[in-house]
Assembly symmetry: C2
């Protein structure tokens, strides 16, 4: 059982399938020792870290793992469906799927301030997870997808209990099987565990999800325009060899309209903003020089296929002075 | 004196300096016959059409022409100064310069609706011009920069009096010396009259000026960001061989902010949107494929030099579904 939060100097970097298998075998043993016949709870977002932890725990303790997937209504197109398909249907996980879309969107209605939006999403997430946790009996452990950069960022403080906002009577012992791994190692382990490529090589996605890209006060119709335009961008990047090349790419739909012309009539609709950036350290970022031919094609698809949109803009701003996200 | 509004079938297209000189000589004679020793009034915007009419009339009747330049506060950087320099200082015109910036911006304060903004600007323009006209004695003629496409667009109705919103007691006989010319002919004539290139080859500029590009309710600080970013774009297009190549290019500053980072601190600022389009007929338009190297340079200049701006976006939308202007 790995209790130290410091990666040993002699720990070999996982760079091959073989090293990943070795790591997986060791972890399965350690997890079985740690957990015994007790139950483990996991908030499964569908991101690579929590997905790898889920897949490891399913291999180690099977249905003693209860995974809770909270759909806050701010996920990308197809994401909650994929989580259910991969974990419930293919890996036969004990998966609790909670569609909390209405709850989140009702709380967020009319809230334009970015900080307040983030706080509402974070607090509501904890509340939904807490409610699900209370419905379950005999949970002893909480699994988390902590990775080594998270530990480096938060400093050398050792924490054995979750401190993420759950109340005192819901404190569990932590299970963090990938806490000494770097992101590239997590991906290799995920691939070896049989997770699909688009889950393992998924771009970074912020906790508040599409909420920070549907800028200003979120509405359902604008959120839908965001989800659809983002799906078109991802599809076209995948088709045109940019999926593995560009670090992060997404669309933003601001709460702002401009004049245009559709079907020979004046239209008054939103623009869709494309963001596509590369970075080494997330402290600075440069934009991807997307070829104009592809930009024209994506623009045409978005203004044709997405209701409520009449323009497409490309965000040319490096970081600084822009941040990667818009709020 | 040309009274017909139909271009004769045998009228030669003005394509050379020689043909332009011939046209100018004929017009000077005709204008002297029409005007005699009476006075002519002209609203001089600084655009190519009214500038060519002013230069022709100065040659024909000198100080019998009174040109009124109304600065509504929505002109591009350096434009009112250029009108004064070229017409008052170089051509020794009888020029009335009216700085009505405060009047216009006060009327426009808090008005976000595009249609209402346009109406306020148009109506206020007539009112300022009317006030100036009333201060002058013995005006008999009103000169206008009508060109042949204006006549084709408005149909074959012949009008001898101005109908642009001036009251009944301020109806003058019209003087329209370039009403049978196409735009390219107007430019050749303007060059032959000695007007500066950046006046003669000026891009089309809408009547409400920067007002339709400072979208939403206009504020002085955002208008300043618009004027400065537009000046940077024009300077860089001129330096990089795009000035004569691209049909129309400008910036837009929407009433919308996003998060960024400046001087290691969070910033909450406007984006500047670049619009650069080519068209044959203004009914459809495609975007210019500005090289990324130049886009990076312009972006860097704008976010560095223009206060209140943290992002630069490139509008990728053809017409349709976008219009050339944003409102």
């Amino acid at each position: 059982m790995t209790t130290s939060n410091v990666r040993p100097a002699d720990m070999e970097r996982i760079t091959t399938a073989e090293l990943a298998r070795k790591f997986i075998d060791e972890q399965i043993k350690e997890l079985r020792t740690q957990i015994g016949d007790k139950k483990v709870l996991l908030a499964l977002s569908g991101g690579v870290d929590s997905s790898v932890v889920a897949a490891l725990l399913i291999k180690a303790v099977g249905n003693q793992l209860v995974s809770v997937h909270v759909n806050h209504g701010l996920l990308r197109k197809g994401e909650p469906e994929q989580v259910v398909r991969v974990f419930r249907d293919e890996l036969h996980a004990n998966l609790v799927y909670v569609d909390a879309t209405d709850r989140f969107l009702d709380k967020l209605a009319g809230v334009a301030d970015p900080e307040r939006k983030r706080k509402i999403i974070g607090a509501e997430f904890i509340r939904v997870f807490e409610e699900e946790a209370r419905k379950l009996d005999g949970i002893s452990f909480l699994a988390q997808g902590t990775i080594y950069p998270d530990i480096i960022e938060s400093g050398p403080v050792k924490s054995h209990h979750n401190v993420g906002g759950l109340p005192e009577d819901l404190q569990f012992e932590l299970v963090e099987p990938i806490k000494l791994l770097f992101k590239d190692e997590v991906r290799i382990v995920g691939k070896e565990l049989g997770l699909p490529d688009n889950m393992v090589f998924r771009q970074p996605f912020p906790g508040p999800g599409l909420g920070v890209r549907c800028t200003g006060a979120i509405t359902r119709d604008r959120l839908e325009a965001l989800r659809e335009s983002d799906a078109i961008l991802r599809e076209e990047f995948a088709k045109n060899g940019l999926e593995g090349k560009v670090w992060q790419y997404f669309t933003v739909v601001p709460d702002y309209k401009s004049t245009g012309v559709k079907d020979n009539k004046r239209s008054w609709d939103w623009p869709v903003i494309i963001r596509a950036v590369n970075t080494r350290d997330a402290m600075t970022a440069t934009i991807e020089e997307i070829p104009y031919e592809l930009l024209h094609h994506i623009t045409k698809r978005i203004v044709t296929e997405v209701p409520g949109v009449n323009r497409v803009l490309y965000d040319l701003t490096p970081k600084p002075t822009g941040t990667i996200e818009w709020e």
